[in-house]
Symmetry: C2
């Protein structure tokens, strides 16, 4: 009598002829296929399979579906809520080799890419076309992963997030069926919007293998300024007016006083340790000049101090370098500590109440928590600098995050603007969605009855 | 022994105490609850129930779910593919009484309305705020219906369609559960995108009772021009360049030579009977002036003839009156005939091939078919003027529509840009979606296992 084969072993031996050395159970490789950017503990898979085509993905899913083996899609591994961890074991399906730009249509301002293409790589490919893909998040992320977590970036205030920029998908369903959703038409009223069902599903409903994306024309001109305010409310009010005026706003970023102090400490600068905005305008040279003058007046009227308008591209880059130093400056407040990044998003009018409310909570603790925000979208991050080895600090950071999410929900907001749910925010989904969470579960059971696709992410069944 | 009660009668008697004279089986009322704007034959319901609240909608759906009685949501009745017909009988759920604007948040540029509010009514309410809701389709439509058919309009090239502008919904599911999807935050990565599942579902997955919508600031200035071209390809090429330049385009409409001849005949004008564009720019006065000059040069370079730029708002309105006369002018070519409006949408680079291809097909028939288009989106309508009483003409019009859809799909497009599927385009869904159509059916069975919600629309089970 032979010992019964484990489901995983059955899948791996069936895959072996196709995948050869692109299938591995080596510990070192498994240890690389975890959510390394996350504050959550890593959870490696039992095996790693590297797919090169939609058909190969379908082969993996068919087998895993038949044998009940979990599959965790893996792009660049940059997600920060544990989305690519494998707490239930199974296969990490590494899609980074699916990295071809399949088509670029400059006249239609769209392109089709494989899921493993990174946004940086796509923009390098597009350089000669005068077009670019405008979701510019901080991480070196794959476009499939960005779609799966409904990612956004600093230019989302102008161009939208992955939600607005994905026109169509190729998706492998959990049972191995291959479907194409959406298409290249700018709009369609032909049946259910399957594209948006998979954007943001974090790989729990299938694997996105190809994406058709909207592109944008590179603006002729841009202009950056940086200014500070006495309080967050005044900064927000200025942004609201600029948005209502329809100025050609491209980026509107905010740092709070704690973050600015961290930046000064980190960079040796003497910037005002007060709420600070970075604003970029972009468009035709004439529009940028005109809107720049309007914006300047509007900021002065709103009480902005020390408005520094970059005179040229080099000066603008220097201002943005200050903004981009924020995360490093935050972490330098407590060397060796990674921190947990919060991610609430609220209606912009509620930003002051949300930020001031959580600041009051943080100040009653010993946790340092610099804040940066995509203020045009109402989304901000606090880096909670706690020692993950210290249970008391870990509990305190979790209490702050929970208080922040409760506050944001009470203000009409969401627990996560752009990082997704993964393992880290599951606990808040019932409060955020109410009965709609049951509908999400119904959809999951309908599409993935064997619960093989990234099981345990977003919600438990 | 009493005769068993019909399911419909059981539902109606249970509803009667709540609805009183807002429940009726009078023939005259039933005959008003049909798709009167459609080329399809009307199919009245067995009864009409007028709901005033989400809870009332839930009560109707719970009972209909229990008894297996079809429910057809009815807003303003303006859909044109038979969406509000009741070919399987049942209840027409009239939502026009749910017409309250529940909240307007000028700072956040959003509002929440009940589903029966029309877009005209909302814009009247918003007038003092400096904001407006930018989906401006031709019909006097309800916002719930517009979301359900994923409607768009002439300004969609700038602001997006209902797909981009609905932030959140209250939906009554087929079993009477009430869920809230999305919210007021500008973006969210918190779980499945349920909002987009219901936008475009044509009432087959539940009833949208409330909508949270994005608003836009009314632009400071606008400028309109009209010009003609020797051929569609030259007109399209000019539009592509203008889009790539990122000009502040607000509307880009096209009429073909046949349509322009119809306009001349209808209005006694002597406009060039050649492909004609109407273009509106909107933004700050400075931007409009600057982009207007750029556009003018660009159109001249593209071979535009007789560029007529409106000198003031009155002149602009006169140019737009010509555009808005198109449907009346088309129908005047054959008095007493309503016609069938096609609705394909293709990548903009494929517009010339699509239009020239179908024009060649039409010219081999006796059917007149003037064409107008939202060229910035790649979407156009031909009004096929056929006599619905004449089987041969009806068959010919259907053949033209089928040929057009086949051509559009082969060019990467969709059968419907903005009218939806309803009963009229069901036959084309398999060709458009392939295996994804089975996934739509799976979702329908999951959410509406008793198949009570607008049964037989979009696809058959």
């Amino acid at each position: 009598m032979t010992r019964p084969t484990r489901p995983l072993d059955a899948v791996l031996s069936a895959l072996s002829p196709t995948f050869g050395d692109r299938l591995s159970t080596a510990q070192a490789l498994r240890d690389q296929h975890v959510a390394a950017e996350s504050w959550l503990p890593p959870a490696p898979p039992d095996a790693v399979v590297m797919a090169r085509s939609t058909d190969e993905v379908a082969q993996v899913l068919r087998l895993c579906h038949a044998h009940g083996v979990p599959v965790v899609p893996f792009g660049a591994g940059s997600s920060i809520e544990g989305q690519v961890n494998a707490p239930q074991g199974g296969i990490s399906l590494d899609l980074s080799g699916m990295d071809r730009v399949l088509a670029v249509h400059p006249e239609d301002m769209d392109c089709t890419v494989q899921c493993g293409v990174t946004r940086q790589r796509l923009n390098e490919d597009l350089r000669a076309s005068g077009l670019f893909f405008p979701v510019d998040l901080g991480a070196h992320a794959s476009l499939g992963g960005m779609a799966s977590t409904r990612a956004s970036g600093t230019t989302t205030v102008r161009y939208g997030s992955m939600r607005e920029l994905v026109l169509g998908l190729t998706v492998v369903l959990p049972d191995g069926r291959i479907v194409r959703t959406g298409g290249r038409a700018r709009k369609s009223a032909a049946g259910y919007d399957l594209t948006h069902l998979f954007v943001g599903a974090e790989g729990t409903l299938g694997v996105i293998t190809e994406l058709t994306l909207r592109l944008a024309g590179i603006p002729e001109a841009a202009s950056t300024l940086m200014c500070s305010f006495d309080d967050i409310g005044a900064a927000t009010a200025a942004v609201v007016t600029a948005l209502q005026f329809g100025l050609c706003l491209n980026r509107i970023e905010l740092a709070d006083a704690v973050q600015m102090a961290a930046i000064n400490a980190y960079g040796g600068s003497t910037l005002p340790e007060a709420p600070t905005l970075w604003i970029e305008l972009a468009g035709s040279a004439a529009t940028v000049a005109h809107d720049g003058a309007t914006l300047h007046g509007l900021l002065e009227g709103a009480g902005a101090a020390r408005i520094e308008r970059a005179k040229d591209a080099g000066a603008a880059a220097a201002l943005w370098r200050i903004r981009h130093s924020a995360l490093y400056a935050a972490r330098a407040l407590r060397p060796g500590i990674k921190g947990m990044s919060t991610d609430v998003c609220v209606p912009i009018s509620a930003l002051p109440a949300c930020i001031e409310g959580i600041r009051a909570v943080v100040e009653r603790t010993a946790i340092k928590a610099p804040l940066i925000g995509h203020v045009g979208d109402g989304n901000f991050h606090m880096v909670l600098l706690f020692d993950a080895e210290d249970p008391a600090e870990t509990a305190e950071a979790s209490r702050i995050n929970a208080a922040l999410i409760e506050l944001a929900l009470s203000l009409g907001g969401t627990s996560t603007g752009e990082h997704g749910v993964g393992l880290g925010k599951k606990a808040y989904m019932a409060a955020e969605h109410g009965p709609a969470l049951d509908l999400m579960r119904d959809l999951k059971r309908c599409i993935d009855p064997a619960n093989i696709m990234n099981p345990g992410k977003i919600f438990d069944l």
